[in-house]
């Protein structure tokens, strides 16, 4: 790692930051969350704390801008330079600037969060079917008010779940109108406008008046980018105009025709041949979280490193499972020292194998009457091993009223009665000796309290300390047996749904056989969740589908009501 000349660093650890403006590419809430997470990257390994303020001068002022944006270090349009930041100090020092000619996302392409509708803000599901026709972007079809909308499940015709897409017809951001929608037409400088405009501004941001006359009322806001907003070209931020005509042909989606580089583009008026207005279509974009985490490293005093895998390497690459590299940790701890969090402690004495059974108070209350199962209190194997640092668990389920998180031969557990405290890790082999180290799924039958564990194409059934298995999945009627299960959902008494990729089965636990009519397509019933999830489990009465560190939470009425983090929403990590 490298630090700036003179080891520039902050002279206090309680730092403040302020976001002075937002990009039209993402909801302000998404940007705020990304910045919060980016700061957490550094606060997790140092004594530094970061507090967002909303007025006045903060230590770290954050802004979006393009080209020359006031500091003498201009950005360069789309791609190339993404952002920059200044080392610690007063004034502009410590500030971070992001190039708004980039397409800012979370790194994996457009995410369209909806507003209003009946899907509780769930993201659009593209493509979706409406009146038998497939749509891969928001549409105003079916509406007389022109508001773009989308389905949040694969089929609106079937599920009737929808929300409205970002649009100036719905709201604005920034400005002085508290998010009021645009009023069209509006008058600015004596001219009437029917769309958002960049006129009157030098920074290229599209704006509108929120009353009929800006000249008179001076009320305005910035227009959020629609899902089809173009990047660059000569129409930055304008939506594609589908269908459009190009060299006499009609196009209803982005095309690479006319270009040598294969990049997709669209016209922003109905006829490119006449108007020549165009822009590039949204791509994967750059992760505002990853770029911000890098820039904040500069804001704290780190210079560029030569370690390619480190966050402070100067070139951008998208990392799905981000973890701070040791080089970055050593760099920031060189400047600020280590955090004040729990430090590793030496392992305690290994308990003798013939200890008397000491029931856990929480499990005792829920299990002894039903099954006589008095589990041996497991011993933590490595108190320094933190569940909050696990990227993805092998399996997650509720056993005896406690959420259990399995990972590579160990498990953690937590419950509401523990008030967020996570116990463990415990060795799986100590509690359930017959199981392999890596599990795929597990569930406890609510009636018999039997616990089913799945690994590959085998399963085990524990009743107290007795175990049956391993047996093949085909014994449950899963034929052909999937390579592995991803999770299980208790479905009332005696029924459990077993998931594997695109399919799920309903298991009758009493007869230990899947019901007829299965497997079914996961997306048909559980629309709006990814099919490549890693864990499926029930938590606090809601279905959770987790992919990587993100979880889609679904109500029993199959509405995705939140996309959040396993770490914070389920594990309640600090």
């Amino acid at each position: 790692f490298l630090t700036f000349e003179g080891n520039l660093k902050w002279d206090h650890t309680d730092l403040t930051y302020r976001v002075t403006n937002y990009s039209p590419d993402l909801d302000a809430s998404v940007i705020n969350d990304a910045f919060k997470r980016a700061f957490k990257v550094w606060s997790a390994v140092t004594p530094l704390t970061f507090t967002q303020v909303y007025s006045g001068e903060a230590d770290i002022m954050i802004m979006f801008g393009s080209q020359e944006h006031g500091d003498g270090y201009p950005f360069d349009g789309k791609d190339g330079l993404l952002a920059h930041a200044f080392p610690p100090g007063q004034g502009i020092q410590g500030d971070a600037h992001f190039d708004d000619d980039e397409f800012w996302t979370l790194g994996a392409g457009l995410v369209v969060n909806t507003s209003f509708g009946n899907a509780n803000g769930a993201a659009c599901h593209f493509p979706f079917v409406f009146e038998g026709k497939s749509y891969s972007h928001c549409t105003a079809e079916g509406r007389s008010d022109g508001l773009p909308w989308c389905s949040t499940t694969p089929s609106f015709d079937q599920d009737k779940l929808y929300g409205f897409c970002p649009s100036e017809l719905l709201y604005t951001y920034g400005g002085n109108s508290d998010g009021a929608k645009c009023v069209f037409p509006f008058v600015f400088d004596g001219t009437s406008y029917n769309t958002c405009t960049t006129e009157g501004r030098s920074d290229g941001y599209r704006w509108c008046a929120t009353t009929a006359n800006f000249d008179q009322d001076k009320k305005y806001g910035f227009c959020p980018n629609r899902d089809t907003a173009v990047i660059g070209g000569n129409s930055q931020g304008e939506p594609c105009a589908f269908p459009f005509t190009f060299l006499g042909q009609t196009y209803s989606s982005c095309t690479s025709e006319g270009r040598e580089d294969g990049r997709l583009w669209c016209a922003t008026t109905s006829n490119y041949d006449v108007d020549r207005k165009w822009g590039l279509c949204p791509d994967r974009g750059y992760s505002i979280f990853l770029v911000a985490a890098h820039e904040f490293g500069h804001s704290l005093g780190l210079d560029h490193t030569s370690v390619r895998e480190a966050l402070m390497y100067p070139m951008y690459s998208y990392i799905e499972d981000f973890q701070l590299h040791q080089d970055d940790i050593e760099g920031i701890q060189f400047l600020y020292g280590r955090g004040s969090g729990p430090k590793p402690t030496p392992p305690g004495p290994v308990p003798p194998t013939q200890t008397p059974d000491v029931p856990d108070q929480t499990t005792l209350a829920t299990t002894t009457e039903d099954s006589g199962f008095q589990p041996t209190e497991p011993s933590p194997v490595d108190p320094g091993s933190d569940a909050c640092r696990v990227q993805a668990f092998d399996a997650i389920t509720e056993i005896n009223g406690m959420m259990h998180f399995f990972k590579s031969g160990k498990y953690w557990r937590t419950s509401q009665s523990l008030k967020g405290k996570i116990q463990g890790p415990f060795p799986i082999a100590e509690t359930w000796p017959a199981l392999p180290a890596t599990l795929d799924a597990a569930f406890q039958d609510l009636l018999t309290k039997k616990i089913f564990f799945f690994a590959g194409q085998r399963f085990w059934v524990y009743t107290g300390k007795s175990v049956l298995g391993p047996r093949g999945l085909e014994k449950l009627g899963l034929a052909p047996a999937p390579a592995r299960l991803t999770g299980a959902l208790q479905r009332g008494r005696g029924k459990v749904l077993l998931f594997s990729g695109e399919h799920f089965w309903r298991l009758d636990v009493k007869v230990q056989r899947v019901d007829r009519g299965y497997p079914r397509q996961t997306e048909e019933t559980f629309g709006g969740v990814p099919i490549d999830v890693h864990n499926v489990f029930l938590y606090r009465g809601k279905y959770h589908f987790c992919q990587d560190r993100f979880c889609w939470r679904m109500t029993p009425r199959y509405q995705v009501d939140r996309v959040g983090y396993l770490k914070y929403d389920v594990l309640h990590c600090p």
Binding site: F4, K78, L82, H84, G258, Y286, E295, M315
Partner: protein
Amino acid sequence: PLPAKPQVTITFPGELVSQKSNMELANEYLSRFGYLSETKKSGRQESTTKALRAMQKKLGLEVTGELDQATLEAMRAPRCGVPDVGS
């Protein structure tokens, strides 16, 4: 049948097409990110080669001192605007 599509390539208005040669691009990059200090921007091959070697070393590329394909790609890749060398 699929309709016949245009096969021509056009110049899009407002497209930022770089007219710079590879060497101009390299000099600009090396200068912007601190590998080629102001005093050494004389265009001398020796300075550029030295700066290229420093840049290749810093970015973990094969150190050739040549403006090879990997180096050009690195120069065109998205990155942070903070200089790699100097203040």
